[in-house]
Symmetry: C2
């Protein structure tokens, strides 16, 4: 995979996956302790990698799902052409069911479906076109994230304390990140910044992944527990909050990692700007508002067990939503590849995407 | 230790320590997995038990420190009387330095100091009087907490969802708890309630201790991660928030476990009543406001390591304040042994305590 001319000279902060006659990922459940590379040579493995958070982050889920369709082709190549197409379509449905909230999953798979419907005149052509479309989705994300970085960098002032939640970095995308992209660009421009990283219970993507990639890119940061963010805001250590998104409704209501809503309320109380950074592929123009976004509830052992050991009574009752919805009126703006927009301007993006 | 007549018939929910010719505690760092009893037969052990959170919770720290002074007497009994008194006073200073925020520690140790100054005419008398004073501090806490339960129960309505943070239960006190006392009394009165328990990072006192004692007392509860509280409030699952306190300033500003301030802001935003439950021994009438309360910062490995394994890069920079301060205007009321009072009524309590 080569990047566009625009990006050739820019170092990509993180490479969470690559295609080399097959799909390879870094298993994010093993970070930061181990960097283990997995080959996903079966759709079942792609499905499980998404479901079990070996890869996560809405834009990355989109990229991996797109390449997952190519994996499906290769896995079933020996079937008669018609059966092959049917099988790939079944696999697409399977992949769609891996996680319910991240919109990029559905966005990417719909584009891959269109290739099968419209550009599948022969096996050879179909394979070429599927691979081309997956690469296109990947490159578009790379460029979109870099542009998010360029637009977002403009609102980051020298000396700022920036709070982020979960991992919306290179590891959650094709490599530049969404919420972290402006931080990477600010670093390139030698701005002095300090990032506060919410550890992000229960899966600890902040502690495990965001710290890992900020460290790799030599960006100064401090890890905090999620419940410390309000205290830091009251101490005036936080000048801006930037987080990613899993799905954004037409009115700007935004589903993102559980805890985002609390941060938005806290930022509002402390009059701190609260930004969502996301490519247009995360906007769901078919959904009027956040109440329609399906919220995934995950296994209770994500909360009860850490590092293989219970932190609570074994039979404790647990509530474990993976996401929450932040209403548009708590969001200062959306940092997109088309610029920074207000919730009420989202409609304009509709025909600009992908 | 026998309890007062008033309480004789009431079952104490939890026994976190007892005196039986020596000081015994349940090691709270091992809960909920193991119930390990430790004998603290040296002041050094008492100091370390407090410092390393084997026992914690402001009222319990007060009780243990008081008995710690008796331990000092027994440990040094063979010294000449004058040297013995000096040594005990040195030990009191040592105990005072174990943790800086919990006011009950200083309150209890000051009372024990007064015994040495005023009632130490002979070794035998001194020992008797020290033990009597420690027992008095314990029993007063037991009664105060039970009364907190009786007053607090009145604001708990049938069917309520109650959110609590950290552990302000039996394990944090002489046995009834502060924030949990109204819940125990509501349960005795057969009110249907449901408790939401913040896991309370980094030390997880909610997940480990509050769940354990609610389970022991058959009170329905759900464990959540700290960052889920706002989402639950937005879903109208929380009708009231009740937490404990480590120190309350004259104006009502309250130091409590880190994360309390964020909860208070969230409760305010969602118009949910936010109560502090604490005995008068937690009120520091010498401090005008919360800015004067010393906030303990603890070891960064409390955040970085869980169950013996790192959850972040090993050299991650960490901020780990053990407490935050909630300003009086975010507090609906204080549930005390003298009734439920508003922040502006605190002055009235001054001559009612202990």
């Amino acid at each position: 995979m080569s990047t566009s001319g625009h990006l050739k000279m820019k170092k990509i902060p993180v490479k969470p996956f690559w295609w080399d006659r097959g799909l390879f990922i870094i298993d994010q459940t093993e970070l930061p302790e181990k960097e283990i590379v997995l080959k996903l040579d079966k759709v079942k493995k792609v499905y499980e990698a998404i479901k079990n958070l070996k890869i996560r982050g809405a834009p990355l889920i989109g990229c991996i799902a797109a390449y997952g369709v190519v994996v499906s082709f290769i896995e079933n190549e020996n079937l008669p052409f018609c059966k092959l197409k049917d099988k790939i379509k079944k696999d697409i449905e399977k992949l769609k069911s891996s996680r319910p909230t991240a919109y990029n999953l559905f966005y990417a798979l719909r584009r891959m479906e269109k290739i099968i419907d419209n550009f599948g005149i022969s096996k050879k052509k179909l394979k070429q076109n599927l691979l081309k479309e997956a690469e296109k989705i990947y490159k578009e994300d790379l460029i979109a994230c870099y542009k998010i970085g360029e637009y977002g960098e403009k609102i980051i002032k020298d000396g700022m304390g920036i709070l982020t939640h979960c991992n919306a970095g290179g590891l959650a995308t094709s490599g530049f990140g969404t919420a972290l992209a402006p931080i990477y660009v600010a670093k390139q421009k030698c701005k002095k910044i300090h990032v506060y990283v919410d550890e992000t219970r229960p899966v600890l993507q902040g502690a495990r992944l965001t710290c890992w990639e900020l460290e790799k890119n030599r960006i100064p940061y401090t890890l905090i527990c999620d419940n410390m963010a309000g205290y830091l805001m009251s101490k005036k250590e936080i000048d801006i909050v930037i987080v990613g998104a899993d799905r954004i409704a037409k009115n700007g209501d935004t589903a993102n990692k559980i805890g985002t809503y609390s941060l938005a309320v806290l930022a509002n109380y402390h009059k701190i700007p609260f930004y969502i950074a996301a490519p247009i592929s995360t906007f769901d123009f078919n959904i009027e508002d956040g109440s329609k976004i399906p919220i995934e509830e995950r296994d209770e052992n994500e909360v009860k067990k850490i590092n293989g050991k219970y932190i609570s009574p074994e039979n404790a009752d647990v509530f474990n939503p993976a996401f929450d919805v932040t209403p548009n009126y708590l969001i200062t703006g959306f940092i997109t590849e088309k610029g920074i927009i207000k919730p009420e301007e989202i409609e304009k993006l509709k025909n600009m995407g992908g």
